[in-house]
């Protein structure tokens, strides 16, 4: 099986990057959660959506869970490289209020 969620470190380990490939929907729930489970409050996380082709509202919910896990307002989550279709979903939901969109 091709893994749709990849996790790696960036900036000498200061940032954790979670990259999502293909359809970002409920089927990735467990893998996405697994990717941030060990991270503590206030950790810096980048969700890279360069290879995500689609995103639905349950994926928005998964991002909210990530933010919750990292301490809500204290969370430092950046969502980067979202393509047009995916960016549209994020913007309709006004997630730029909660996340840094890069």
């Amino acid at each position: 099986m091709i893994m749709s969620i990849k996790k790696y470190q960036e900036d000498s380990g200061r940032r954790t990057v979670i990259s999502v490939k293909g359809r970002f929907d409920f089927s990735l729930h467990a893998a996405f959660r697994e990717a941030y489970r060990d991270l503590g409050r206030g950790s810096e996380v980048v969700v890279d959506l360069d290879e995500a082709t689609y995103m639905d509202s349950s994926a928005l919910g998964m991002l909210l869970l990530l933010r919750d896990h990292l301490g809500r307002d204290a969370a430092k989550v950046t969502i980067r490289r979202a393509r047009d279709d995916v960016r549209r979903v994020l913007e309709i939901a006004n997630f730029q209020v909660l996340f840094k969109l890069a």
Partner: protein, 588 residues
Amino acid sequence: MTESGFLSTDAPREGGQKRLALIVDDELANRLLLQRFLALEGFDTRLAEDGEQAIDAFREHRPDIVFMDVMMKGMGGIEATRVIKKLSGNRFVPVLFLTALTDVESLERCIAAGGDDFVSKPINLKVLKSRILALERVRDLHRAIKAQHDELSLRYDAERREEELAERVFAHAISARNESFPGVEVLHRRAASFSGDLVLARRMPDGRVRILLGDFTGHGLAAAIGILPVSEIFHAMTRFGASCAELLDEINRKLCFLLPPDRFLAAVLITIDASTGKASIWNGGMPPVITIGSDGLQRHPSRALPLGIVEDEVTESQFDRLDACGVERVMLMSDGLLEARNPAGRYFLDCEFDPILDRWTPQDAALQAIDERLSAHVADGRYEDDVTVVEIVPRQIPVVRRAQSGAQKRLAPISDQAGWEWSLTLSGQYLDGRETLQAFLESSLVSDTLGRRLGALTTIVGELFSNAVDHGALGLSSAMKDEDDGFEKYYRKRAERLAGREGGTIDLAVRFTPLANGGEIRVSVSDSGLGFDEREVDERLADPLANRLWGRGLKVVRELCESVEFSPPGNRVLAVYRWDDAPHPSER
């Protein structure tokens, strides 16, 4: 697990019974040899000499395993195996061929007929024993898988049934309280799994119409949890005249409290004043609201987070306020519409939506085109997500006028001490304004003491109003109902006249006066019709043989009221309803 087969036919033999083997061979010596061996291995055995006997014995004894010779007099092993495999259906009964044949082609035919394995004659008992073990392992695996499959199917069915039940309950809870308005059309396509779209609509005490289109995250029951509380809050607060911001804040607070962090409600709230054409739009997480009018096509995008995520209050900058700028049509939609995929995987937004908008004009509705194109687009009718589209034509929403309106008072806690009065005129296509009427009544009777009078007043106002609409403004005669097919004829005529806007006008006024220990409500209704002879009604009611359906409504009103008086020529009626909240003397 392996022995906990779900179907009784597949369960292990009861009471520690031995496994049963069926031995099919036309040579007595072979049968006896195998019988002795299997007995040592703990099997009970049944014997058959040819294919026909084998089938009969299989039917009768339902063995756990079959040992089958290939070449026999009469029906051979291959043909018998075909029948036996058919007979065993879903139950896995291994058939092991014992054969002197060694050519590949014959062995292939054994397997093709449904045989599960073969052992060459002369039989090496050690080999046979291990083949039996292997086959039993396969059988156990088969049973385990089947048991799991059955259990999954049961659970799946149970879940589907629960979902359907929930959907019915929620749909009922919502639709029972929703108002429908001329000028507000809704298109719904339900996904296979309940997907959380909801539409709520209600008239406010000041006459504006408020509509909420929402889309809960997720599917199934989880998507439906929030529907009831949202519906309750919407109706209660709208009835009391709460502002959009107050309503949204309350829903948001409730959902933040109720829902887990990954669940939320994307929503559009629109409030329309049909008398001035003013409207306010709040969009949190839904596709843009689209309007068309003198300004052309305008999009009103989401400016707020969906509800139920953070407890921030709604701010004024999140609203789009439309002045009386001539908005002719408004379209609200859930993302299920834009993201509906055709069999090739393309979105409705990308291939169908723009041409529909191109043909959308102040005069031409889009809903029907959306309906048609959507059905063609999602050709197999399987929707991944709920699709909801609401098209509003503010101009067509009935305007509720009031001579002396108590409406403004509703915004503050009402003081029933002073009494109040409101009146309402309905005409033309909005003549049949039962829902409007009910909303007025409900919003007037919000205090505890008056709330208890709602049932009686609904009946009184409803009956007098129906009477005025049907017999007055629409000029229908109740006597029609006496004829054989009268009821049907009556209602057909009624619908025709309403549709043809042949109706006249109805004026209705309700006045509340507080009394020492209770109060009095006077309901007056007048219509533009010719009136009717009230004595005729009385005579008919007195006649026990007369059709009792006729005029019954009026009788109930008379029983409830202190007095009911018609003024000549019968197109004006005044009903006085009085009550006393003081405890009855005997109860003191």
